[in-house]
């Protein structure tokens, strides 16, 4: 075996290198992807998310239905070739309604998660890096807000703001940033004493540079994992708000609102108003959780096989 042999670092069959099992080295991202795709549930989750995105945003271009103006003359039709998932209480095609509802649910989910993560990351990183009284004050604010039950805070904010998709995003984002803030603050506390951070400071690097070039980039693992869970949580939050009647006004809709409407007819036997919307929420939330779990495995150093 020559020194130039690319397989030089591979373990020889029957003989383990010192320190235990070894694997082919590569870039960090290749390693992350490798670990991620080893998780079958992650692939299933990713598939479901892709399907839901295509279903919600591309589906309406293929399966065209009237989703702005209703038609009570065809209310409560059972599934048929003309309406594969039947029609709802005011005559909207239910399959088309599900696509429209998916757009709103996913938009709110992604956008609220982005807001939550952005606010949470900056808040947590600043708090952790500043330390002292600033850290204490900022974290007590987070603690105080965390003490308010999530649902109560959502309902309160939802009642204050008139509900549109944009306002739902802001409301959920404003409530959801607390968890990422705590996580990032914890990471920052451990990162700020690392040698490379000390080195930047010694070389005269500004606090801003430390924060944005060295602290936040190194919390990306925590951020990405949390962001996936935030999306799932936001989808549930918007479904909950809509279920409680604080959703988007018609003709807009989302899966939670669809489910809420459907449950009003549970005794009438209109199953097509309940199961599809419920299934869409469950599948999407579970899918994001699968992806989040896999990302955590892939990004968490202690769980990586090296």
């Amino acid at each position: 075996m020559s020194a130039a042999d690319p397989t030089a670092n591979l373990p020889v069959a029957g003989a383990l290198p010192e320190g235990g099992e070894g694997y082919r080295s590569g870039s960090m991202w290749r390693l992350i992807l490798s670990v991620f795709f080893e998780n079958r549930l992650a692939i299933v989750g990713l598939g479901i998310i892709l399907f839901m995105l295509l279903f919600s945003f591309v589906g309406p271009f293929i399966y065209r239905t009237q989703q702005v103006f209703n038609n009570p003359n065809i209310a409560h039709l059972a599934p048929s070739l003309a309406h594969p998932l039947g029609t709802d209480q005011v005559g909207y095609d239910n399959l088309g309604r599900l696509m429209l509802g998916g757009q709103s649910s996913l938009e709110v989910g992604f956008a609220a998660a982005i807001i939550a993560v952005l606010v949470g990351v900056i808040w947590g990183a600043v708090s952790g890096l500043a330390g002292g009284i600033i850290d204490t004050v900022m974290m007590r604010i987070v603690d105080a807000l965390l003490a308010i039950p999530f649902l109560v805070a959502l309902i309160l904010l939802g009642a204050i703001f008139t509900t549109s998709t944009l306002e739902l995003i802001v409301v959920i984002g404003l409530v959801a940033w607390l968890v990422p803030a705590r996580l990032v603050r914890g990471e920052t506390l451990s990162l700020r004493v690392r040698e490379y951070v000390q080195a930047v400071r010694v070389m005269g690097g500004s606090t801003r540079r430390v924060l944005f070039r060295h602290i936040i980039p190194n919390t990306v693992g925590v951020i990405v994992v949390n962001a996936t869970f935030q999306v799932a949580d936001a989808i549930i939050a918007v479904a909950t708000l809509s279920f409680l009647g604080i959703g988007v006004p018609p003709p807009a809709t989302n899966w939670g609102g669809e489910l809420s409407n459907g449950l009003s007819y549970i005794y009438a036997g209109y199953w097509w108003l309940i199961y599809p919307a419920g299934l869409a929420i469950v599948l999407t939330v579970v899918a994001f959780n699968f992806v989040g779990d896999a990302l955590r495995d892939a990004l968490e150093v202690r769980l990586q096989r090296r």
Partner: protein, 647 residues
């Protein structure tokens, strides 16, 4: 007063004869069941509509069936009770504190005598308690009284107040004995109207316990400041108000404001000693701010029959779906089937419930806010209201959303059941403005609007000529309105969504829907909106019902559609209509009375002061089959739990 539909909607009309026929048609052959005393009756409240005001003198914001007929009237009996257990819209002497009043001096003097009833604390109910109410009412409705708190209106207000009407049409009132008093009126009035719509507003209150200005202060005679009356200048016939109504902290107004503030402190209902002194068959035992109410019999109730059940409980629900779940679980003695669950009727009947639709005497509508600075001028145009009404597909709503339980509303006087003699031939004949989208579009185009189906129509021909948009409407103005409606009732939600869709798709009228709890919707709509104090927060507001004629039991509409009336939500104000209403007040005999009523209702059937919506039963009642006393339900949405018993 206003209320929310439980399940669907409400309203049915009927004068005594018609109602009696209707009841007979229902085949109410009854046998006397063996009854037992005791037991708790659990009654379902409307979706998101718990009682939230206990003081019987409720302002427009709280003037609802939920707060009055189904709550405070069980504790505070009006001087004159209307309605009976045969569902007839008539004066009920047996349940009244007062004997039938007599009129003299060409109907300009009213003589009132009281039965010898007692308060729950053993004190007699006297003329002083009636005058206590009159003093506070006079102060609370005095246009010259000082504003209280942040309100621009004088005093806490009264939801049945009409400028120039009761008590401003009373020159003086005074006690003539412990159990009698007399009133001198400023003109000769139709005795039917004066009893059914004016004296009906009086509820004796315990002066000896409530006449105070603060919780810690002594009980006195603070209300007496309002008893001396003076004529308002430039009124004909002269209208009278107290010479000294008091202020927010003194006199009669101060007492009314104190009781109003106590009533707004919901968390203290069950501990506040004020509310333990009652005249009605029940007294409050417990209350939560979520709307759970438990009442127990008032052991000192003077009326008859005395309650035999041990407690009457009202359960709150956030939606009709959650109410129906409770009904299915058998936890309600009296509940209702939402129209979307009507297929479950037979199943519930098999499980021990009896079906009994609850009809009442009113009509369903929702108001326009004519005072809104931007959209008000559009809604003031008759052609717009005609176009908008032509987009309300009442027949379809009845068929698809109300499970067939309902009739179209044609005007302000109930037409259901057929043959109601108060309904004019025009109203009885059918809708003046039936669903007609083509006509709606034509009307808009003929008045300077560029109709944009599926979008928003705009005014392209401003001006006041007959083919122009109308006064106050600028070029480029859009047919875009905010419609607030009560949450929790599926049928109402469906109606609003259908109307929104039709209006935009056909005529380019954009309705932006939003929902709120019932109390919030009526709080928004009945917030004293007038042209001098306009409201800009809403364009149309639908609390899901309309009006049940109580305490204006003779349906002349003065309390809801006369200029300046407390419950005239959007300040509809047309002199012809005011004149028509006034004519019903002064009609000298029954023939003239009916003629005046027809003139009034025909005018409003054509003028469309509000958006008429389908009228149906108040609720599709389901009650436990072993409950007696519910064969007939209050035609004014009132409750009679003192008649309930279990067998």
């Amino acid at each position: 007063m206003r209320h929310i539909p439980k399940l669907s909607f409400w309203r049915m009309a009927g004068v005594a004869a018609v109602a009696a026929l209707f009841v007979a048609a229902c085949g109410s052959t009854t046998t006397t069941p063996k009854t037992t005393s005791g037991g708790t009756v659990t009654f379902a409240e409307g979706p998101s509509a718990p009682p939230s005001y206990i003081f019987p003198m409720a302002s427009g914001t709280y003037f609802s069936v939920t707060n009055l007929s189904d709550f405070s009237q069980l504790m505070y009996v009006p001087l004159y009770w209307f309605g009976n257990t045969s569902s007839q819209p008539v004066f009920n002497s047996a349940l009244s504190i007062g004997n039938q009043p007599t009129f003299s001096d060409n109907n300009t003097v009213v003589n009132i005598t009281l039965k010898h009833w007692e308060w729950s604390n053993g004190q007699p109910i006297t003329s002083k308690d009636v005058i206590f109410w009159l003093n506070m009412l006079s102060a609370a409705t005095d246009p010259n009284a000082p504003a209280v708190g942040s309100s621009s209106a004088p005093g806490p207000g009264w939801g049945a107040a009409v400028p120039g009407a009761f008590p401003q049409n009373v020159v003086s009132y005074s006690s003539t004995g412990e159990y009698s008093l007399t009133m001198k009126l400023n003109s000769s009035y139709n005795p039917t109207w004066f009893l059914y719509n004016e004296l009906s507003q009086i509820t004796p209150l315990p002066q000896a316990s409530w006449d105070e200005l603060s919780s810690s202060g002594p009980v006195g005679s603070y209300d007496a400041t309002a008893e001396a009356r003076v004529a308002l200048p430039n009124t004909s016939p002269a209208e009278y108000v107290p010479s000294d109504p008091g202020t927010g902290t003194s006199g009669a107004l101060g007492v009314a404001q104190f009781l109003n503030s106590q009533s707004q402190t919901l968390g203290t209902y069950q501990t506040n000693p004020l509310w333990q002194v009652v005249s009605g068959p029940f007294v409050l035992k417990s209350y939560t701010t979520a709307g759970y109410v438990k009442m127990v019999p008032n052991k000192n109730y003077s009326g008859s029959p005395k309650p035999t059940i041990s407690a009457f409980v009202e359960e709150p629900f956030t939606s009709d779906t959650s109410e129906f779940n409770a009904l299915k679980a058998g936890s309600l003695t009296i509940g209702y089937i939402p129209t979307q669950d009507i297929t479950q009727k037979a199943l519930l009947e098999k499980s021990g419930y009896t079906f009994n639709p609850w009809y009442d005497f009113g009509f369903v509508y929702f108001p326009y806010n004519f005072t809104e600075p931007t959209t008000g001028p559009i809604m003031q145009q008759l052609y717009f209201r005609q176009a908008f009404q032509s987009l309300v597909n009442q027949q379809q709503y009845i068929k698809d959303f109300l499970a067939g339980y309902g009739v179209p509303t044609n005007g302000p006087v109930p037409t259901y059941p057929p043959g109601n003699p108060d309904a004019s031939p025009l109203e009885s004949k059918g809708m003046v403005y039936p669903y007609d989208p083509t006509k709606a579009v034509s009307l808009l185009r003929a008045h300077g609007w560029t109709v944009n189906p599926g979008g928003v129509s705009t005014c392209t021909k401003p001006g006041t000529a007959s083919d122009e948009c109308g006064k106050g409407i600028a070029s480029g103005a859009q047919l875009s309105f905010r419609l607030l409606y009560a949450q929790g009732a599926v049928a109402l939600t469906n109606e609003m969504e259908a109307l929104q869709s039709t209006a935009e798709q056909v005529a380019g009228i954009k309705l932006t829907l939003s929902t709120a709890p019932f109390q919030q919707v009526i709080g928004t709509a009945f917030n004293g909106c007038t042209f001098s104090t306009p409201c800009s927060g809403w364009d149309m507001a639908n609390w899901g019902g309309g009006w049940v004629y109580s305490p204006d039991y003779f349906p002349t509409g003065g309390e809801i559609l006369a200029t300046g009336a407390s419950s005239n939500a959007g300040d509809y104000s047309i002199p012809t209509n005011d004149h028509n209403i006034q004519a019903t007040h002064t009609a000298p005999n029954q023939t003239a009375e009916l003629k005046a009523l027809f003139t009034y209702e025909d005018y409003l059937a054509q003028q469309l002061p509000v958006v008429y919506m389908p009228s149906g039963p108040y609720q599709l009642t389901m009650y436990k089959s072993n409950l007696n006393g519910l064969t007939h339900q209050g035609i004014f949405d009132e409750l009679y739990p003192q008649y309930y018993s279990f067998s």
